[in-house]
């Protein structure tokens, strides 16, 4: 457990934590600053990988130019005061219902009605493998198409 490995773990936790901060923050300015921190940790990753030029380009271009551009847009447009979008009220019950039907079909498909009995001879090497349970696939595709 040498020093670079400890540093790598600390940086990995920092990178994931700042990305989570970007996802979960309600204020746009906080999200932009979390992303700047993320870029800084990734720049130190590049230094660990022996790419100092890429690390400096990352800090200069990403954290120095692109995030400043983002902050300009946020400040000039007043984006931190943007309201949340409307939540469609029928989506959540529909998603829950489809998920339940999908998992119910999946449970009924794992019974012995769909799987071949174990006493059957094994299929030949060039034969097509048995088809999966079609009803479960239909329900799951209906679930996914409603997303």
């Amino acid at each position: 457990m040498n020093l670079t490995l400890i540093l790598f773990y600390v940086l990995a936790v920092a990178a994931v934590a700042t990305a989570a901060g970007l996802l979960l923050s309600r204020n746009s300015v906080y999200a932009a600053l979390f992303l700047v921190l993320n870029f800084a940790t990734v720049a130190i990753f590049y230094l660990l990988l022996g790419a100092p030029f890429i690390a400096l380009v990352q800090v200069t271009v990403y954290a120095g130019a692109i995030m400043v551009l983002f902050l300009f847009v946020i400040m000039l447009l007043g984006a931190e005061k943007l309201p949340r979008g409307k939540v469609l009220p029928w989506q959540r019950p529909l998603a829950i219902g489809l998920r339940r039907s999908c998992s119910w079909r999946r449970a009924s498909c794992s019974s012995s009605a769909c799987t071949p009995p174990p006493s059957s001879p094994p299929p030949a090497r060039n034969s097509i493998p048995p088809k999966p349970c079609a009803r479960w696939a239909w329900h799951c595709s209906a679930n996914i198409s409603c997303l």
């Binding site: 990995a12 990305a19 999200a31 660990l48 990988l49 790419a51 990352q58 271009v61 692109i66």
Partner: protein, 84 residues
């Protein structure tokens, strides 16, 4: 050839890259604010850049770092960011 990079396994860097990419994709799908969606796209690009540089170091070629450099400094992406 695929080995450790200063004592850190290649899979460690790839795991961090994958986790960051997934979180960026989640941000694009979940958040409704357009600015934060753009920032999540930048996060995904960063994760891909990290994977590029990790492989470039592991295979000892320069082309990974060159690709990352050109992606970072491309003008087309600046135009796309100036769109909002």
């Amino acid at each position: 050839m695929i080995g450790e990079l200063g004592g850190i396994p290649l899979s460690g860097f790839l795991a961090v890259s994958a986790i960051l990419f997934t979180m960026g994709a989640l941000g694009v799908l979940i958040r409704r604010n357009a600015i934060i969606i753009f920032m999540s796209v930048e996060l995904m690009l960063n994760a891909a850049n990290l994977a590029f540089v990790a492989f470039a170091r592991s295979y000892n070629v320069l082309s990974g770092q060159l690709f990352v450099f050109f992606v970072m400094t491309s003008r087309r992406r600046r135009w796309r960011l100036a769109w909002p």
